[in-house]
């Protein structure tokens, strides 16, 4: 069965990628010009502390020994200690993952739904005024810096109109009577960042959806369906959509990294306590263990997400499924 083979092949690929990413991650942080140990040592430490830490972390050992230690630590879930927070990096990240996942998933759903709808409308009414305005809209969204869009939305809806809270994922001092009021509070905070990412990411996907649909419209099997007498609506939703979705999955795969990147800047603008904000803070404060750990986690997540998308594609395309 084709899909099993796809899963194994792409699974091995994913594992290899994760391996390479880990190696890259290790070496990246050691290539800093100048003193290679500065990455692991906070500039705030005294000379004595520095020597102790260097020895403790084995940073005075040859590179390959350090690498082995690094792998060992990784496998035991040790991503180092944050300079600033003085806590294990892994804990810091794990605390924030749910927030980022919430933001990414909700905005992703919005992006996909909106892209498909607008792509459909534009392709169906190709050449019309609506189509052209949608294209211009899509291209503009593509050109807009997402964090700036977030900033504008925040400025207008939160600061000027006071409709939404300005920072965070929930109101800290509010005592919640029930789960519902907590969820409502979170959703209230979630709305703006979610819309920012949701709409901001449409640009590329909308254009691809439209192009992919136009490609399919031109295919012979669509003309055949028309010849058979299948009503237009049915053709659109049954025959065309399945085919057009395939390139869409591929494009989503390619843009996953971009979407994740957008989350970093958006979380910063909205002070949304996710992994993105953590990265921003670690950059500002030169908290390298956190930066290294967060980068690793993000990259591994991207590889895994990519792997899942490949499986989904394999499932959707019978040419792959029934090899």
């Amino acid at each position: 069965m084709g899909i099993g083979r796809v899963a194994i092949k792409r699974g091995i690929n994913a594992i290899v990628l994760i391996g390479m990413v880990t190696v890259i991650n290790f070496f990246l942080f050691r290539i800093m010009p100048g003193d290679p140990t500065t990455m692991m040592i906070s500039p705030r430490m005294t000379h004595e502390t520095r020597r102790i830490i260097l020895h403790k972390f084995g940073l005075d050992q040859p590179l390959y020994v350090q690498f082995v230690r690094y792998i060992q630590q990784l496998l035991s879930g040790n991503l180092g200690i944050s300079f600033i927070y003085q806590r294990p990096v892994l804990d810091l990240i794990v605390e924030r993952i749910p927030n980022t996942v919430l933001l990414l998933l909700s905005s992703f759903i919005i992006t996909v739904i909106l892209s498909i709808i607008t792509g459909l409308v534009a392709a169906w009414k190709r050449g019309s005024k609506l189509d052209i305005s949608l294209i211009v809209f899509g291209l503009t969204m593509h050109a807009l810096p997402i964090f700036w869009l977030g900033g504008l939305l925040l400025l207008y809806f939160s600061v000027q109109l006071d409709l939404f809270p300005v920072i965070g994922v929930s109101t800290p001092w509010l005592k919640h009577e029930s789960v519902f009021s907590y969820v409502a509070d979170v959703l209230h905070h979630l709305f703006l960042p979610m819309m920012t990412l949701g709409i901001g990411n449409i640009g590329g996907l909308f254009l691809i959806t439209r192009n992919s649909l136009l490609d399919v419209f031109a295919e012979d099997y669509v003309t055949t369906a028309r010849a058979v007498g299948v009503p237009s609506r049915t053709i659109l939703f049954r025959n065309v959509l399945r085919n057009a979705m395939l390139p869409l999955v591929t494009i989503i795969m390619l843009r996953l990294g971009f979407i994740i990147g957008g989350a970093v800047t958006t979380e910063t603008v909205f002070t949304w306590p996710g992994v993105g904000l953590l990265i921003y803070r670690s950059v500002m404060q030169e908290d390298y263990p956190v930066l290294q750990g967060a980068f690793l986690i993000i990259t591994i997540s991207a590889v895994l997400a990519n792997f899942m998308a490949e499986i989904i594609y394999g499932y959707l395309d019978p040419r792959v499924r029934y090899e």
């Binding site: 295919e219 012979d220 099997y221 003309t223 055949t224 369906a225 028309r226 010849a227 058979v228 007498g229 299948v230 009503p231 049915t234 049954r238 025959n239 399945r242 085919n243 395939l246 959707l316 395309d317 019978p318 040419r319 029934y322």
Partner: protein, 319 residues
């Protein structure tokens, strides 16, 4: 009354470069049970004619004038919705050029045929699948393969599947556009044999569009030769082959190699295909015609019935 009667049909296309006069005033009649071969070079208007009958023209096409009488209705005036429900596929169907791509790769082959059936008939899914299996047997595919996907079928099988699909709703008229061009010779012969036997078995009427005269010789009892959007000669196939009257037809037949006949040198028809946006004046063929006279450049020849059922459009044949 003829089974299908086309009169003075004109279909033009508006393009950036100008108006393409793809079909410029043609007339044809088909009786029930006929197989008419519509022949001519690429771009002479054969496919456009078929698409006009089926009402499947692209958005930049206009049917300027004409009548297509099928049964007791004029197909050009009955409206899209009625056409879709009552005529398309139920009474007339089409086998497209390049059938390889006519099957949607993400659906099972049988499913696409059941879709065709269920669009027009209120029967259960099981009955529809049963019909699919019958159709498969009819066209020579193992019925068990109905649940496979198109990429699992060979080229010849796909063609048979497309033929099966065209027969799904028991049509009276089947239009086949270059049904065997993309296949190798042996498979070609098999498919043509299949089409012949289906025609006999089911009492179908057919229009066979092709640029390959041997296909017409094989399967059609009538033939119409098109050039530059016009029908230049029309008769039963034996006459066309044995006594072609129009210089273009003669040119085509002359180059038709014969296994048993004598060895002849190839005499290609000189010149190149005409520009359909600004076609040659008078008789469209005159720039390439070895017998062209002065009048051919100035006046379009009328259609004359030379003998019963044999129509030619040429100034040379004025009696």
């Amino acid at each position: 009354m003829s089974f299908l009667d086309i009169r003075n049909l004109k279909t033009y296309f508006t393009t950036k470069g100008g108006t393409v006069k793809a079909v410029d005033d043609i007339s044809l009649q088909i009786e029930k049970g006929d197989a008419l071969g519509l022949a001519g070079e690429s771009g002479c208007g054969k496919t456009t004619t078929a698409l006009t009958i089926m009402h499947l023209l692209p958005s930049n096409a206009i049917v300027l004038s004409g009548k297509i009488r099928f049964g007791d209705v004029d197909l050009l005036t009955i409206g899209e919705e009625k056409l879709r429900k009552d005529f398309r596929w139920k009474r007339m169907s089409m086998v497209f050029q390049g059938a390889m791509n006519a099957l949607n790769p993400v659906f099972k082959v049988g499913e696409q045929i059941t879709q065709a059936i269920l669009t027009h008939e209120e029967i259960t899914k099981e009955s529809a699948w049963e019909r699919v299996e019958e159709l498969f047997s009819l066209v020579g595919i193992n019925p068990a393969r109905a649940k496979e996907y198109p990429h699992e079928f060979s080229g010849g099988m796909k063609q048979r599947a497309i033929i099966a699909m065209s027969l799904a709703c028991d049509p009276e008229l089947v239009i086949a556009d270059e049904p065997v061009t993309a296949l190798d010779v042996i498979v070609q012969a098999q498919i043509l044999e299949l089409m012949r036997s289906l025609r006999d078995k089911l009492g179908l009427s057919m229009i066979m569009i092709t640029h390959d005269l041997s296909v017409i010789a094989d399967t059609c009892n009538k033939a119409a030769i098109m050039y530059a959007g016009k029908i230049v000669e029309r008769a039963d196939s034996v006459t066309i082959f044995k006594q072609p009257e129009h210089p273009y037809t003669q040119g085509l037949i002359a180059n038709f190699p014969s296994i048993s006949g004598e060895m002849k040198p190839f005499e290609p028809i000189s010149g190149s295909p005409p520009n359909l946006i600004s076609p040659p004046s008078g008789c469209r063929f005159h720039p390439r015609c070895p017998y062209a006279m002065g009048i051919c450049e100035n006046k379009e020849p009328e259609i004359i019935e030379l003998k019963r059922g044999h129509f030619v459009s040429c100034h040379l044949k004025r009696h």
